[in-house]
Amino acid sequence: MNDILQGLSQAAQLVITGDADLVEITALSLQVSLGATVIASVIGLPLGAWLAVNRFRARRFVIALLNAFMGLPPVVVGLIVYVLFSRSGPFGVLGLLFTPTAMVIAQVIIITPIIASVAHQAIRELWADYHDLLISLNATRGQRIRTLLWDGRRALMTASLAGFGRAIGEVGAIMIVGGNIDHATRVLTTAIALETGKGEFGMALALGFVLIAVAVLVNLGVHFLSRTERGSRW
């Protein structure tokens, strides 16, 4: 209990003094996780919508695959990305291992299935509502998907936020592909793991609280932005 209070006060101290290291790793955390969320959303949201609207033979299989990928162990994803991008791997020449880019790639692999799956669920419900109308109005395939994405944007936002939440709190994969290098690839979660390993629980907790605060703030920010939009009653 004492540790926790101490962690809280240490967190406050770090934030108030604008600790340079804290700012740096927090910024990198946000940069990597938001980057991964944006990329994964660009892939996952239309994929989810497309799966909801189209009937094709392998559809069930793809959905089952997606759901299975949601549970991918991050450590294994990290390991695979590591092998692919290591010097002797197929993408070794790119020299991406131990860079934030590699971390983004690993996170994209981890959260795209989550975003696509949540989006698929939401769009499927909307499509059930809209189906007859959109067919009746002779909307083209592309128009249907665009309409569903737009009218379902609230739910899709939630899908993206679920992905972001997973990304910002993820440690296993980015530890492996990023290497937790100070001033290069250290982010909040890997810093917490490091401090914990050193027995610096106060510091680890402090970083943990900052992590929670960042995650909450991003969610609140997105929520606030979507509230101010016209027609926000949806």
Binding site: Y130, D132, S136, L137, N138, A139, T147, G231, R233
Partner: protein
């Protein structure tokens, strides 16, 4: 003048659902002018028949053929569903939506939608979420959305089911105007008074089959089948 999408020829069409034949076999031709009213008891197949004509139902046997020379026939029909489908958009955006699909410029679409909304008595609700307005208002919205493309053929499935007397009159006035404008209308209703007021001719469905078709006067004055007679008298159908 583009050629009409009519006639619509329906030949020996049947629909099976859940191991049961729920419609047909039906032979009918939709052509000419005017307003056709589809009557029949609950479950007789009115909704199914309307949906078949609009191409929303998978049919078993039989043929449904629009005048193919007219090009894209779906785009020139409109359908008002028995249960209005409301989009997660404002009333104004919902009415303008079909125009936006057609690639009409946003500003122009909005202006047209606003004018039509006002005409339909929805002028005060433009910025309300479509899903939050009353049942009757939803039906008016659905009608406005169907009319905004000025369709050649308009299908309506009990469009006045939830409307009060005044709103019903209002819709009937609009439908009369639309009909006079040359739109071919087919609508179902349980309201016999409405059928008398609006119909040029009547289709009577029973157990999925068209057992009577013909001009309004003949149908109301001297129905040929005991089923139609009973229906008009509000009796249980034999």
């Amino acid at each position: 003048m583009v050629s009409s999408i009519l006639p619509l020829k329906i030949e020996a069409v049947t629909v099976r659902r859940g191991g049961r034949q729920i419609l047909g076999p039906i032979d009918w031709v939709l052509d000419g002018q005017g307003l056709t009213i589809l009557m029949g008891p609950n479950g007789s197949g009115k909704t199914t028949f309307l949906r078949v004509m609009h191409g929303l139902e998978r049919v078993g046997r039989g043929q449904i053929a629009w005048n193919a020379a007219a090009g894209d026939v779906r785009a020139r029909q409109a359908f008002v569903f028995q249960t209005p489908i409301m989009m997660r958009r404002s009333v104004l955006d919902s009415i303008a939506y079909p125009l936006l699909l057609d690639g009409v410029a946003r500003q122009k679409a909005m202006t047209e939608a606003e004018a039509l909304a006002a005409q339909m008595g929805l002028g005060g609700l433009l910025n309300q979420p479509a899903q939050a307005i009353s049942g009757g208002e939803k039906q008016k919205l659905a009608l406005a959305r169907a009319l905004i493309r000025a369709p050649d053929v308009l299908f309506l499935d009990e469009p006045c089911a939830n409307l009060d007397g005044r709103a019903t009159k209002e819709i009937e006035r609009i439908l009369t105007e639309v009909r006079a404008g040359g739109t071919r209308i087919v609508m179902s209703t349980h309201d016999i008074g409405q059928a008398r007021r609006l119909a040029d001719d009547i289709l009577f469905l029973h157990h999925g089959r068209l057992i009577e078709t013909g001009p309004k006067a003949a149908f109301f004055e001297a129905p040929k089948t005991p089923e139609a007679t009973a229906h008009l008298n509000g009796d249980l159908i034999p």
